[in-house]
């Protein structure tokens, strides 16, 4: 103990032990993982169906059991106990190992899929059942992704079972992942149609709206035209309307698959987002640069298409592959998810996603959405900022009684949930869009008397 030294070093001593059931459930998850590892190592020389069923069942049962043993019988409420103590949630060794494993998986997925042969063959039976054809690495990825969103979504719902906003929102992201990003594409494949992801559109889907994309879809007849119509309507009509009414949250924390994974599997890491002003500055530069890049890319492709590749052909091709490699793969996948345990769950959404950039601009300038603060009740504790996955320093606004209108806020509502003093409320209101942040709700001094400015 060192009373003179300000570096407080809590050792977190206590009587904390995992319960027997928690240990058993983690062991069962471990068995499921082992099944995957064996399948992977066998390179396809193992009977896929039983191994697949075994692994999936073990992971599901183990995870549900873990959720049950962790939350059942406990009084509902915010229990972020030991988050800053467990290595896995505070950049300890376990976090780094997990980060490296997930990053490695993404690297294989994008650039060395043959290394995943064993895992791909493991998914053949399911792929045949769902899509009528053999699995590929993207099917494996989609399956992992969906299972993660569902299982961790259930855990999230239990964790926040006292909060109806969180429950409904999580059911929504689980639904969109399972149905729109997994089952519908599989079903389309079964009908011999190309797999369409109706919950992704331009500019997040940088392939959409390209000349060859339009040409490709047009060749499919009516179905293709429907896809093109949706592909144009969503970004240019539906998105602005919904964002005007509800803010970017309608997409980023209710529909989007990237957001869905961040809100479920990424939830244990949300506190790792960087809250510094420097990070905010980098964020604004990066996200808007990516937006410019994708707009430029799409425009160039059209320009080339119209000019029959006479002018910028080579440059555009280079730009296209650079965007595909740098942004779509390395950034959104490898860094976006692989770095969850180190940089938090929304690295891509915050620093890279061009969709988030557009939605954010609209949210900032033309939306009813804001987070209102409750007068002078803030005690500056910092829970809100800590658990904001977007790295917003919510407390900065709350303690001065200013409503929060930030381009990056995805409206997850967790700041409001963890606030111990009931200070924050996500709201939509039309009457004051241009002056949402003007009011300072704490008591301040104006001129020469104390009065409330509001």
């Amino acid at each position: 103990m060192n009373l003179l030294d300000s570096s407080l070093s809590l050792a977190y001593q206590g009587n904390h032990k995992m319960t027997g059931l928690q240990k058993i459930s983690l062991a069962i998850v471990g068995l499921g993982t082992l099944g995957l590892l064996i399948a992977w190592a066998s390179n396809g020389n193992i009977s896929p169906l039983p191994t697949f069923i075994f692994s999936l069942a073990a992971m599901t049962i183990g995870s549900l059991l873990y959720t049950y043993s962790t939350y059942s019988g406990k009084i509902p409420g915010i229990k972020n106990n030991r988050v800053f103590q467990y290595g896995i949630s505070s950049r300890g060794a376990a976090a780094w190992i997990l980060g490296i494993v997930v990053t490695g998986f993404y690297v294989c997925l994008y650039w060395f899929p043959h290394l995943l042969e064993g895992l791909i063959r493991l998914h053949d039976p399911l792929s045949h059942g769902l899509r009528g054809k053999a699995a590929d690495q993207w099917f494996v990825y989609g399956t992992f992704y969906t299972v993660a969103v569902l299982l961790m979504g259930i855990k999230f719902i239990f964790k926040y079972r006292h909060n109806r906003y969180q429950i409904i929102r999580t059911i929504s992201v689980m639904f969109f992942q399972l149905v729109f990003a997994y089952l519908i594409p599989a079903f389309l494949a079964l009908l011999n149609k190309p797999d369409e992801y109706f919950s992704y559109f331009w500019p997040l889907d940088s392939y959409a709206l390209r000349p060859d994309w339009i040409a490709g879809k047009s060749s499919l007849g009516t179905f293709g035209y429907v896809v093109i119509a949706i592909g144009i309507l969503m970004p240019f009509v539906v998105t602005p309307i919904l964002t005007y009414f509800f803010g970017k949250r309608w997409y980023c924390s209710w529909v989007c698959g990237c957001g869905g994974l961040a809100e479920t599997a990424g939830d244990p890491f949300r506190q790792l987002s960087d809250k510094s002003l420097t990070a905010w500055k980098i964020e604004r530069w990066m996200i808007h640069s990516v937006l410019v890049a994708v707009v430029l890319l799409t425009a160039l492709l059209w320009f080339n298409h119209i000019s029959q590749n006479t002018i910028l052909g080579g440059f555009t091709e280079g730009f296209k592959s650079a965007y595909g490699f740098g942004i779509a793969m390395a950034f959104s996948g490898v860094i976006g998810v692989g770095f969850y345990p180190i940089m938090g769950s929304r690295v891509w959404c915050r620093f890279g996603c061009p969709m988030a950039a557009i939605l954010g601009l609209q949210q900032k300038y033309f939306s009813r959405f804001r987070i209102t603060t409750n007068g002078g009740q803030c005690i500056s504790c910092g829970n809100c900022s800590t658990y904001c996955e977007m790295g917003i320093d919510v407390r900065h606004y709350a303690q001065r009684g200013q409503d929060i209108v930030r381009a990056s806020c995805v409206g997850c509502g967790v700041c409001s949930a963890v606030c111990p003093r009931g200070v924050l409320r996500l709201e939509n209101g039309a009457s004051d869009i241009g002056s949402r942040t003007d009011a300072l709700r704490t008591i301040h001094i104006s001129e020469d008397e104390v009065s409330i400015l509001s």
């Binding site: 103990m1 009373l3 003179l4 030294d5 300000s6 407080l8 809590l10 050792a11 977190y12 001593q13 206590g14 009587n15 904390h16 009084i75 509902p76 409420g77 915010i78 229990k79 972020n80 106990n81 030991r82 988050v83 800053f84 505070s90 006292h162 909060n163 109806r164 906003y165 409904i168 510094s276 002003l277 209102t372 409750n374 007068g375 002078g376 009740q377 005690i379 500056s380 910092g382 829970n383 900022s385 800590t386 303690q399 509502g413 003093r421 009931g422 409320r425 996500l426 709201e427 939509n428 209101g429 039309a430 009457s431 004051d432 704490t442 001094i445 008397e449 104390v450 409330i452 509001s454």
Partner: protein
Amino acid sequence: MKIAIIGNGISGITAARWIRKLSDHEIIVISGESDYFYSRTALMYIYMGHMGLKETQPYEKGFWKKNRIGLKRAWVKDVDFKNKKLHLIPAAKLTDHDFLPAELPYDKLIIATGSDSNKFGWPGQDLEGVRGLYSLQDLQYMDNYSKDLNRAVIVGGGLIGIEMAEMFHSRNIPVTFLVREKSYWSNVLPDEESAMINRCIKNNHIDLRLGTELKEIVDNGSGKAVAVITNKGEKIDCGFVGLTAGVHPNIGFLKESDLETGRGIKVNEFLETNIPDVYAIGDCAEQQHPKTGRRGVEAIWYTGRMMGETVAYNICGKKVEYNPGIWFNSAKFFDIEYQVYGNVPAKIPEYMTSIYWEHPDGDKSIRINFDNRNNSILGFNLMGIRYRHEVCEKWLKEKTDMETVLKDLGQANFDPEFYDQYEKHLLAAYNKIAGKNIQLKKRRGLSQVIAFLKR
């Protein structure tokens, strides 16, 4: 002009920030506990692992330099008011380039030294393993004692006591909670709310002993606490005793001086002490003439913030009275949030009528008090439900008619979207008592709130 501020808590730091906003004076903040301002209210979350110390610091390190607010980690031993000098002693290990003068001259002085935990002369109160909870050092001490702790006994049933109970509970350490009153915090909470918190404490498996006082703390023979004995003669074995029977202004180091003190440092409405150019703010200050509905010493967060802003104006040549406005406060008892606006006494006086509704689950309630002589609204008490500060305050300030408030009650609701709204139940409770049939006209929603506030 050189302004020295003793104490880097919310009061001292708010004063420094506002002085910087309003002027170019030289500012230096001297504080012994920590290098940087952190939120004392978040101490429990550091212990429970919800946050680290860094997360509780509202400003980044670069902020101080940018705003030219000098920070010095030192204890002020005493103040030479006549020659305008502080006498300093080091509070931390000094690094080579860290020069600490023994004296620090000032032109104006703000004292913002906060509080200290109460001790009532209990036998054994200075043993090892006995401690209050106020500072980072106290927190470290608690943590050091938490390893293999068989039981903690907490003495004093206020807000810090219940936080300490939650802290130990989060680490699965058994807790016995001694509360002198017949029911938890019953000198502040009305009976029903107090009973709700009793239940809540017990549901969390805390061994709650109501109507029980500490008589003495037992020494193990080598200066360490091993048990407590209560006024009922019972002996409870434990490895740690938490003293949480309130706090008092931390002004011990000034007692021998010319500064006028009572419970705290006496200040007028401009936060001036009896010595020219010396001001006192925050927990350590005592208002000589508190406004109606307010007390002389109010050891809470937002009053420190308001005094810090007010004193800055006064120092920068703009005379402003300290006026904290209508009483409000909030807390959290384990998982039950609590908010209060206006006048909600523990014992309802004659002239007041109190309408109360409680959720069947027993963990949410709404109480509204009004003056039965003229039907004007007096206060709101919420458990497990959030109400909007500004709306309640406006009603209270305008002494709005009770029935108007009831009809519009929905617009005070600040709970998250999709949450059930319970205002109609409170109306039913009122209608039953008053034999009327008032209907709820407004539900939760922002636009009408903005319209109401701008009215």
